[in-house]
C-alpha cells in the first residue's frame, strides 16, 4: 500500500538571545518533523545573529485563550503599581529625605555609577 504523505505542520519558533532574556517568540514555519523544524528554524530565523537557544513548538500543542475578555483588566489597579505611590517623594521631602527606587538599589549594590539623571535629581532635591 502506498504511504500517504502527512502534510507539514506549523511550528512556532522561540529564541533566547541572552542568558538574562526570556524566550521570545519570533515567528513560525512549516516542517514535516520536529527535528527538521529545529534545523530549519536555525537558518530561517537566526542566520544573522548569535543566539543561545532556540525552541520549536508544534502549534497544535499551544493552548490559548479564545475570548478577549479573558485578558480584561478594567478597574483601577494603581494600588499595585509604582505609579500609585508618586506622593512618596513629596512626603519624604517633609522629612528632608527622598524615596528609594529599585534602580537606585540595584546600581548601589552592583557598585555602578549613578546616572546623570539621578545626580541631577539629588542636586535639585538639595537645592
Amino acid at each position: 500500500m502506498e504511504k500517504q504523505t502527512e502534510p507539514s505542520g506549523v511550528y512556532e519558533v522561540f529564541v533566547q538571545r541572552d542568558h538574562l532574556d526570556p524566550m521570545m517568540h519570533v515567528g513560525s514555519l512549516l516542517a514535516p518533523t520536529n527535528e527538521l523544524a529545529l534545523q530549519l528554524a536555525r537558518e530561517n530565523f537566526t542566520r544573522r545573529e548569535q543566539i543561545l537557544q532556540i525552541w520549536v513548538v508544534p502549534r497544535t500543542h499551544i493552548y490559548s485563550a479564545e475570548e478577549d475578555d479573558f485578558h480584561a483588566r478594567e478597574m483601577d489597579r494603581s494600588y499595585r503599581e509604582v505609579s500609585g505611590y508618586t506622593e512618596n517623594g513629596r512626603l519624604w521631602r517633609m522629612f528632608k529625605e527622598k524615596e528609594i527606587t529599585l534602580e537606585e538599589i540595584v546600581r548601589y549594590v552592583e557598585q555602578k555609577k549613578q546616572s546623570k539623571h539621578d545626580l541631577h535629581r539629588e542636586e535639585s532635591h538639595e537645592s
Binding site: 542568558h19 509604582v82 500609585g84 529625605e97
Partner: protein, 307 residues
Amino acid sequence: MDSQRLEEEFVKRVQSGAKIEASDWMPDGYRHLLIKLIHMHAVSEIMGVYPEKEWVPKAPNLRRKLALMAKVQDEMGHGQLLLRIVEDLAAPYGKGREELLDDLVEGKVKFHNVFHMEARTWADAGLIGWLIDGAAIINQASLLSTSYAPYARILKRICAEESFHMQHGENVILSIAMGTDEQRKMLQDSLDYWWYSLLFFFGPLEITPAAQKMLHYRIRTKTNEELRQKFLAKYVPRIWSLGLTIPDPTLHYDSKLERWHYAEPEWEVFQKIVSENKGPKSQERIALRRIAQDQHKWVRLAMTTGI
C-alpha cells in the same frame, strides 16, 4: 575528561563571568548549593506571606487592603517562580513540588528569621514592607549577577515586582510617621522589636565554608557583611530622618574605617529560631502551611488524576 578536570573548567568558566543553564553540566557541589539556597529562598517567600496576610483582614482602608493583598500575592508568586527553579535542579534526585513543600512542614528546610517573628501591629506590617522588604531587595539585587542563569532571570522579574513593594512599604510608614503621637509610638515600638532581626537577616559575620563555596562558584558575589553595610547606608539615614531612634546607642558611621559600626545581634538566639523553628510564630505558621499541604492533598489528587 575526568571529573576534576571538568570541575576546574567549570570554575574557570563561572569565574570569568559565564552563565550556567539548567541543561548544562554542573558539579554536584554546585547543584547542591543552588538547591539549598534557592529552596530556602522559595520557602522564605512563602512563609513571608503569613506575617502580612494576618493584616489583610485588618487593613485600615480599601486601598491599603488591596495593596496588601497584591503584595502578599506577589510573595506567593515569587515562591512559585523559585520553586520551579529548584524543581528542575532537584529532578535528578526525584524531588518535586510535593517533596519540596513537605520538607517545609516537616522542618527539613529553613526559612528566614524574620518570618518566625510576630507581626503585632499595623506598624509591624508596615515595617515589614519597608525595612524587611528593603533588606530582601538588597540581598536579591546582589544575586542578579549570580552564575546560575535561570535564577538570575527569575530574580530580574522578582526585583521588578519588588519596586512596587518598596513604594508601598514607604507609603504605609510615612502615613504612620506623619500621624498622631500614638501612631508614632507604635512605629518606634515596631522598630525596637525588629531591629536586631533585621541585622541578623543578612547572616553571620564570618564567611562560612558554604558561603565561601558560593563565592567560589559565583552563586553569590557579595558577603553577608557587605550587604548589611549597604542596607545600613541606605536605610539608617532615612530611619533617622523620620525622627525614630534605632535601639542601638553605639550605631554610627566610622568614616575612618568607612563602615557602619553596630551592636551585633545575639547570633545564637536568632540562629536557634531559624534552625529549630523556635521563634514566637514558627510553629503556628508551619501549621498554616500544613493546611495547604496536607489537608488539601485530596484536591491535588482529584485535579491531577480525576479520582
